[in-house]
């Protein structure tokens, strides 16, 4: 496979995953804003901006934090490089240049998602926002479905690799922001919690029922954290994503007959996660732990680019 093709596939995987994550985040924030007994107000939307690292960009654009302005910025803003529009633009641009490496289904879902946003300039009210989000999520689900029907070849592995790398990054950011927002330093673990907020987190990673199946318990922040970091059964957890990264790299390595630095780093991370307990994470500080994870993820990303000559 051409190096350029591999790079494009990897980034398609990342951008589609990021678009989907942002869509879920907006959806969950709308839900939080609408369903909580007291209006969650601007805090909900501010934290949404924080999770995707768009707080500074939003402030620079000069709008006031309100549902419509934030969802416009996260969804449609061309000057926000991680808005859903920007992600779909980039995904489609890449998809177009490697059209041959994608199946028709996979290309069509990316193209349709892009077409769906092309003429939208304003999200409108909550109902319109939700219906647009639903459409985008339908397309990204379609993309995942299309991937599952692809030949299990290098193209499949690079798409999956990109998606898993992005997912690890997104989940780590989500826990980091939300946890500290909800349980500021010094607050006693096990105190009164805001159920709506925690439900929001689980919604964002579609793990509401998974939590019940895994823990048979009511929502407890440290259990949610345990699940999102260490439960490899959950595809969106850091452990689950890391397993997937290793799996895709190993597949490519078998096809090429050799492995490299990225494989080594990936396996190292996987082994670390399997030996970690949630108590030790909290003992070292959750924020420090997650920050370290994000740095490692970025290092792995660079190793992947070098190993396959993304150039």
């Amino acid at each position: 496979m051409l190096s350029r093709t591999a790079a494009s596939l990897y980034w398609i995987g990342r951008y589609v995953e990021r678009a989907e994550f942002t869509a879920r985040l907006i959806e969950a924030t709308v839900r939080l804003d609408a369903l909580s007994a007291r209006p969650a107000g601007t805090t909900a939307w501010e934290s949404a901006l924080l999770v995707v690292g768009a707080d500074q960009g939003f402030a620079a654009a000069g709008a006031k934090v309100c549902p419509r302005a934030v969802s416009n910025f996260l969804m449609l803003a061309a000057d926000n490089p991680s808005s859903i529009r920007s992600c779909l633009d980039a995904a489609r641009w890449n998809a177009k240049s490697v059209r041959t490496a994608l199946t028709r289904d996979a290309w069509e879902t990316v193209n349709r998602a892009w077409l769906g946003l092309r003429n939208v300039t304003d999200m409108g009210d909550t109902r319109e926002t939700l219906s647009l989000i639903e459409r985008i999520r339908a397309e990204t689900r379609g993309f995942e479905g299309a991937l599952h029907r692809m030949l299990r070849n290098e193209a499949y592995a690079f798409l999956g690799l990109g998606a898993a790398m992005e997912r690890a990054d997104n989940t780590a950011r989500l826990i980091d922001v939300k946890y500290h927002l909800l349980l500021p330093e010094g607050e006693k673990i096990g105190g009164v919690i805001d159920r709506d907020q925690w439900t929001t987190i689980l919604h964002t990673v579609s793990a509401n029922t998974a939590y019940r199946w895994l823990y048979h318990d009511e929502l407890k922040p440290w259990l949610v954290t345990d699940m999102l970091i260490l439960k490899s059964e959950l595809p969106r957890s850091l452990a689950g994503s890391s397993d997937e990264v290793v799996g895709h790299l190993a597949f490519i390595g078998r096809r090429l007959g050799r492995q490299g630095e990225a494989d080594r780093l990936g396996r190292q991370r996987q082994a670390m996660l399997s030996r970690t307990s949630i108590d030790s994470v909290f003992a070292h500080g959750l924020h420090e732990y997650l920050e370290g994870f994000l740095v490692e993820n970025a290092r792995l990303d660079r190793a992947i680019a070098a190993q396959f000559r993304f150039g």
């Binding site: 496979m1 177009k96 059209r99 041959t100 000559r309």
Partner: protein, 493 residues
């Protein structure tokens, strides 16, 4: 410019009953409401847009990606019509390849005075540095798109030979896919030859011309300028259908006259390049040094015999307008017989008699610059103003050798879905001819372009032209067989 006596390919000359062979199409048009046809046509166009079968229109910012309009009413050729066309196409393309091998080799045709020497050797499309260079297996024009027009039941004419990088074959294939999906009943009523073998034949052609000694598994790639190119969809579609890599210039590097592509597994040696980049832009070291598109060193690798380029460099001379007018003589010179597909009558104004005839009949003729293209430097007599005609008269007298003249043809029409219902529209036809080391192959089909404006003879997609599926009827039994009811269901209980 409308012609009241244009031949209609389905209804014949002015009748309202279809020709006997096509009665079933007449019945289909009769019983399918225009509304339903329109619905299907829109469904096809929506599918094309979703697939991204688009072309870019330069200088049109807002809709940088457009689809070419698709017409749901197919065009049909009988098996007999097709066999005649096919014989003529094979003969013509074989002659084109003989001609190219000759003028870059012994130049016998020039020595024998069949084609004026200066017309070839002083032509900017003639690549002097290729003289004496034999491409692998001796083939220059592996892929030709021959533009045909029709004026009567048995009157087909070659309007143009495209021997550089002809495009449009993806429309032949995608239009058929759309028709099979949206109008399956047509394929039950008619026995249509399939076109979907084209990618396999193209791949076989590419493999067959790999430089000798490169083993039984030559590496073939399709070289595209990139996805901003207007025909990028076709490039990716063909590469995908053949199962070969679609490379951009930056994916290739030339080292010691060997061409390599950069892959996740290191460098891989390339043997055959189906290039969709024009000569001028393919290698900045050889052609235009200002080109950012090309692969430096590619031509040196070709000259060293380490790579096959499809089509070979230098084929542009064969589809030059000045050379075109000699094609009947060229075909006769190499095949020993009369050309089975005639040229459109062409007056070479460089010859005194032809010049006089042209000057006397300017208002009836189309006058073209031999080195012009895209309708530039062209006079269409019947629609021109007096002043334009006089301008051309002066230009013709000053530099007659730069012009050719042709009669204005009454192009055939095919029923087409318009806003006012089914109506005749003018068409042309481009079949694709493959020449490999294993002979000449033509898939039974081609690209039909249709001028959607009433009376218009301009089929170009940039000027309101659309496309149609082109059905070639087969004399052998049909390809469709029922497989029985589909879908297993879960047992209840």
């Amino acid at each position: 410019m409308s012609s009241p006596i244009a031949f209609d390919e389905i209804f014949g000359n002015g009748g309202d009953q279809p020709r006997a062979e096509f009665a079933a199409l007449g019945a289909w048009l009769e019983e399918t409401p225009d509304k339903e046809l329109d619905r299907r046509q829109k469904a096809a166009e929506a599918a094309f847009r979703q697939l991204g079968i688009t072309f870019a229109v330069y200088g049109d910012e807002d809709s940088s990606e457009r689809i070419i309009p698709f017409d749901i009413v197919p065009r049909i050729f009988t098996g007999a019509e097709w066999s005649r066309l096919k014989e003529g196409l094979v003969q013509r393309v074989e002659a084109i390849n003989h001609f190219l091998a000759d003028i870059y080799g012994e130049r016998r045709i020039l020595a024998d005075g069949v084609v004026p020497q200066e017309l070839v050797l002083a032509n900017p499309q003639f690549r002097g540095f290729l003289a004496g260079q034999k491409p692998p297996h001796g083939i220059f024009a592996h892929i030709c798109g021959i533009d045909l027009v029709r004026t009567g039941p048995d009157d087909f004419w070659v309007l143009e030979d495209n021997a550089r990088t002809p495009s449009g074959v993806s429309y032949m294939l995608e239009n058929r896919e759309a028709m099979l999906r949206l109008c399956p009943e047509i394929f039950h009523r008619f026995n249509v030859c399939p076109v979907d073998r084209y990618p396999d034949q193209l791949r076989d052609t590419l493999r067959s011309v790999a430089p000798r000694g490169r083993g039984s598994e030559p590496v073939c790639v399709l070289l595209t300028p990139g996805h901003f190119n207007s025909a990028f969809y076709e490039h990716s579609f063909l590469a995908d259908s053949m199962g070969i890599e679609l490379v951009e210039p930056a994916d290739l590097e030339v080292d010691d006259d060997i061409v390599w592509m950069r892959t996740i597994d290191g460098r891989v040696r390339v043997d055959v390049i189906y290039r969709r980049i024009d000569d001028d832009y393919i290698d900045p070291l050889f052609f235009r040094p200002d080109s950012l598109l090309g692969v430096p060193g590619l031509i040196a690798a070709y000259l060293a015999g380490n790579i096959a380029l499809v089509n070979a460099p230098g084929t542009g001379i064969a589809d030059d307008k000045a050379i075109y007018s000699y094609m009947p003589e060229i075909v006769k010179y190499y095949s020993g017989g009369e050309a089975k597909l005639p040229n459109v009558e062409t007056f070479r104004c460089r010859e005194t008699g032809a010049l006089q005839y042209t000057l006397d009949n300017l208002e009836k003729l189309v006058v073209k610059l031999v080195d012009g293209s895209g309708g530039y430097g062209m006079l269409v007599g019947p629609t021109a103003t007096k002043a334009q005609i006089e301008d051309f008269r002066a230009a013709l007298k000053a530099e007659p050798h730069r012009y050719i003249a042709q009669p204005t043809l009454a192009l055939s029409t095919v029923p087409t879905l318009t806003e006012q219902g089914i109506a005749p529209r003018h068409v042309d036809f481009r079949p694709f001819v493959l020449s490999g080391a294993d002979g000449v192959h033509i898939v039974p089909g081609g690209l039909t372009r249709v001028a959607l404006q009433e009376g218009s003879l301009v089929v170009n997609s940039s000027q309101g032209g659309g496309t149609k599926d082109s059905l070639i009827l087969s004399d052998t039994p049909g390809q469709f067989q029922s497989q029985g009811p589909a879908g297993q269901t879960q047992r209840q209980g």
